[in-house]
Amino acid sequence: MSVDPMAYETQFFGFTPQTCMLRVYIAFQDYLFEMMLVVEGVMLKKLDGIPGCKISPSQIRKCTERFLLFMKEHFDKLFAKMEEVLLQLVLNIPKNVLLPEDRVQEQYPYSKEEFQALQDELQQLQQQYRAEAAAEQALRAELEEQEAVKAELEKILQCFDGLENICREHGAGNFKESFALLTQSSKKLQDVLKDVEEKSKKMKQHDQLM
């Protein structure tokens, strides 16, 4: 048996070439032995049927052993030659041959460092993407808020514009001024009311003390 484990051939064939040869050798040998036993059996049976036969079964056995020994010798020699040829020419993959399934090995011969660099790059890209996705969420959230705020502000503006239109329609150009004056006077009135309230409170207290 060769020492070469023929691992690449095993990868291709799905079995170890040497194991295959061994299996075949054992099978052939078994057949040879079986056949010789059958031969013996036939002869012994025939001799049984012959009365006064001088040939003993042990003689026949000796004959068989002689023939078998001879056959086995030739068998082993011939088989060894056959095995050699098969392992060299048929069940082998020449050194310069790369199996198609291994093409990537020669297409992308990345070293440990190069591969690690590639992995790092992928991780970095993923992080960057996640950051962009988070930024997107924040931006869209603000956009939504802005819409709401804009809507409110525009409503308020509309209110003001509405008031102005009413003023214009009713020809009260000074309405703004009068309204402003009104606002001021009502403020003054409120202050006066407050004063009066305080004074009357003080008077009541004074009365109680008296």
Partner: protein, 169 residues
């Protein structure tokens, strides 16, 4: 080897052909060694008694042995799909015929060998990530623009409202 009418003939016999030839040669030589003469020499006592039966026994022995051996070979070929594998291997070897340097072989260390098989997937993944990242960055740039515009607009509205408020004071 090609059985059909292919115009291309292989210069050297294919593996299947060699296999068949080698097995046939083995059988031939084995049968030649176990000749009838040799058989008779061993079983001389029986031969003297029953010459014809001896011949018939021998013939059957040889034919049975040949048949069993051929059957075993056929079984091995069927089980291992050897015919198909032989012709595939022949093609692969033919394609590599111009190449002299030894080819890559498994290092025996799975972690080393699996790297190259993963690289094509990693490269694809990288180009995918790069393109979706670019898309997302572009999208965000546009949205950021809208956000800035929105802020300006809100500031503008606030100013207008303030102006109105003052006018009504």
């Amino acid at each position: 080897a090609d059985g059909g009418g292919g115009p291309v003939l292989s210069a050297a016999p294919g593996r299947a052909q060699v296999f068949a030839t080698v097995v046939d040669t083995f059988l031939e030589k084995l049968v030649a060694a176990g000749s009838y003469q040799r058989f008779v020499n061993c079983y001389r006592c029986f031969y003297k008694l029953q010459p014809q039966l001896t011949r018939s026994i021998y013939d059957q022995l040889i034919s049975q042995l040949e048949a069993s051996i051929k059957e075993e070979i056929q079984e091995v070929k069927n089980e291992g799909n050897l015919e198909g594998l032989f012709s595939s291997l022949d093609k692969i070897v033919e394609e590599a015929k111009d190449r002299e340097e030894p080819a890559w072989r498994p290092s025996g260390i799975p972690e080393e060998d699996v790297r190259s098989t993963m690289v094509p997937y990693c490269l694809k993944h990288r180009s995918y990530l790069r393109s979706v990242l670019r898309e997302k960055e572009e999208e965000n740039r546009k949205v950021a623009e809208s956000v800035l515009m929105g802020r300006d607009r809100i500031a503008e509205l606030q100013q207008l409202i303030q102006a109105r408020q003052q006018a009504w004071q």
